[in-house]
């Protein structure tokens, strides 16, 4: 089985979000980058398929050279080969087209992406890939088992779960549940040393078109101070929620 895991290079959750150049660019100053958490659950599930079933696992990112540290981390966790499509990731449709161009030359049985990235929160890439290659597709995937060319996946829905049966090739939008947080691997020294010897192939973009552009950014208005209510006076809280906030 050949698996491709799409890795988004995103600012750590605790990063300060600021913008520069008249609010047209994200301020990367002092920002730590990580593997997008939703992608990391998928990557870890892919490692399970590698260990138990001998799957080959490639990881891919569409982005500039600055994203290579994140791809190296994925290699250190255990991916076999990394691919970087050498172009700035501008929007979901362009990223999906670039990944599809790679998929078409390498034929994967399973493509794993996160349900969304924690920076732009688009949540479109896995579905767009599936539509472009006409593969089976499960989003919000919290469990995945594969046997031969059949797959059983669990999708989280509003208010519950549904169990789906499908066939390969399959694209999933993965999230926590594919593996648990305690299953995530911190790369060890051996993994890091081996990652240096693994291939990180840089390929030129196919020239995908974009369908959206970012004009500028805006930060939310600063929030006012919390209004504290005495623990002995819950009537006051009800009064505020009813008369001031109008929410009950």
């Amino acid at each position: 089985m050949k698996i491709l895991v799409c890795i988004s290079h995103v600012p750590d959750t605790t990063s300060k979000i600021n913008f520069v150049e008249s609010d047209t660019k994200f301020d990367t100053n002092g920002v730590q980058y990580i593997i997008n958490p939703n992608d990391e659950f998928g990557l870890t599930r892919a490692m399970w398929f590698k260990e138990k079933e001998g799957a080959e696992v490639d990881v891919i990112n569409v982005g500039g050279a600055e994203t290579e540290s994140t791809l190296r981390k994925a290699l250190a966790i255990g991916a076999d080969t990394a691919i970087r499509v050498n172009t700035e990731a501008l929007e979901a449709s362009q990223v999906a087209q670039e990944i599809v161009a790679v998929i078409k030359t390498r034929e994967y049985d399973l493509v794993i992406a996160g349900r969304e990235s924690i920076d732009y929160n688009g949540g479109m890439v896995p579905g767009m890939i599936a539509a472009m290659i006409d593969a089976s597709y499960v989003n919000n995937c919290v469990s995945l088992e594969i046997s031969g060319d059949k797959a059983t996946a669990v999708r989280e829905i509003d208010g519950g779960k549904e169990t789906l049966t499908t066939s390969l090739p399959l694209v999933i939008g993965g999230q926590k549940g594919l593996v648990e947080e305690s299953d995530l691997k911190i790369p060890n020294m051996r993994g890091i040393m081996m990652a240096r010897k693994k291939q990180l192939n840089v390929i030129e973009p196919s020239g995908a078109t974009t369908k959206a552009t970012t004009v500028n950014y805006e930060k939310p208005a600063p929030k006012g101070e919390v209004k504290l209510v005495d623990a002995a006076n819950v009537d006051e809280l009800i009064n505020l929620l009813h008369n001031e906030a109008n929410v009950i």
């Binding site: 929160n121 767009m128 919000n140 989280e156 549904e162 049966t165 369908k211 950014y217 906030a245 009950i248």
Partner: protein, 317 residues
């Protein structure tokens, strides 16, 4: 030129989330000077959309479960038949599942988490929430066809009664390689996605045996129940109740956090709720910085009182 909205249904009825999507579609249609049509599957009460400005509903009859590919093919064909250049969808799990497929089918640019009506039609510019609600971006959709995913509870439902006709739309739907083997869904509970009020419990509740407080409070308020990540990791509550960055997003009108410290990953997931209330015994808990109202106190004393007082308040109202 026309606007199409996708009105979700459940058990044959139009879901409440569709009213917000309809209201958004109506606002865009008014800007463009055109009509707004809805497409729905198995809607028995589709004319209710007329209360939110929808002129026409194209109802597709489909037997069997929701399937992203099948539904996407119906929505795409409705857009094509109508010549709709703008399609509006919600941010529900199902809409987010099928919309990327519609986007590829219509060769459309798709913006998710959109929080307000377009600020301009040419270029077509919308404001969307990014960095897990820590910022907004103004984005231009440059393709001819456009899909807008409206962020839950951001635009609101706007009543606007118009004459509404419902037509059966007969199409040949796509086939799908995905089959539903089973659905496990609590039908008697308000879901986090649909709830106006969410009551959430954290580690401060000390154990699953104390969750009756959360459930009782939720019942009085007609709220959904949720929990923090440690609570779901410890198995006190199911993962489906976990809200936060790696759990479910919450965009309710009122979010009440009890015994939740307010880790940054938790706050990221609930930040787009309009009013946040925290009850925590630790005055240094980070949640107090994110909340609108707070009580520093022991949940085991405050919450039972709050339940009693709310019951009295609701009885009076």
């Amino acid at each position: 030129m026309s606007v199409l909205i996708y009105a979700e249904t459940e058990g044959g009825k139009v879901k409440k989330v569709a009213f917000e999507v309809a209201s958004y579609g109506k606002a865009v249609a008014d800007q463009m000077g055109c009509e707004v049509t809805a497409v729905a599957f198995n809607a028995s009460d589709a004319d209710v959309l007329g209360s939110y400005g929808i002129n026409k509903v194209m109802n597709i009859s489909h037997e069997g479960n929701f399937d992203a590919k099948i539904y996407a093919s119906g929505i795409q064909q409705a857009a094509e038949q109508l010549g709709a250049s703008v399609v509006v969808v919600s941010s529900s799990a199902d809409s987010r599942y099928l919309s990327p497929l519609v986007a590829v089918g219509l060769n459309a640019g798709y913006a998710t988490n959109v929080v307000s009506a377009p600020s301009s039609l040419a270029p077509f510019t919308v404001k969307r929430s990014v960095f897990t609600n820590k910022a907004f971006t103004h984005a231009e959709i440059t393709s001819e066809n456009k899909i807008i995913g409206v962020s839950n509870n951001a635009f609101g439902s706007v009543e606007n009664k118009v004459a509404c006709t419902v037509e059966e739309f007969t199409v040949s739907l796509a086939s799908s390689s995905v089959n539903v083997a089973s659905v496990d869904k609590a039908t008697d509970k308000v879901t986090i996605a649909d709830a106006e009020v969410v009551v959430s419990g954290g580690r401060g509740l000390k154990g699953p045996e104390n969750w009756h407080m959360i459930e009782d409070l939720a019942e009085v308020l007609g709220a959904a129940t949720a929990c923090s990540k440690p609570v779901s990791d410890m198995g006190w509550r199911p993962h489906s109740e976990h809200v936060g960055q790696t759990g479910k997003p919450v965009a309710s009108n009122l979010y009440i956090a009890i015994g939740v410290s307010g880790a940054i990953q938790h706050l990221a997931g609930i930040n787009s709720s309009k009013v946040k209330v925290v009850i925590n015994s630790d005055p240094e808990a980070p949640f107090f910085k994110a909340a609108d109202y707070g009580i520093v106190g022991d949940a085991f004393e405050v919450v039972p009182q709050l339940i009693e007082k709310l019951k009295a308040f609701k009885a009076q109202a």
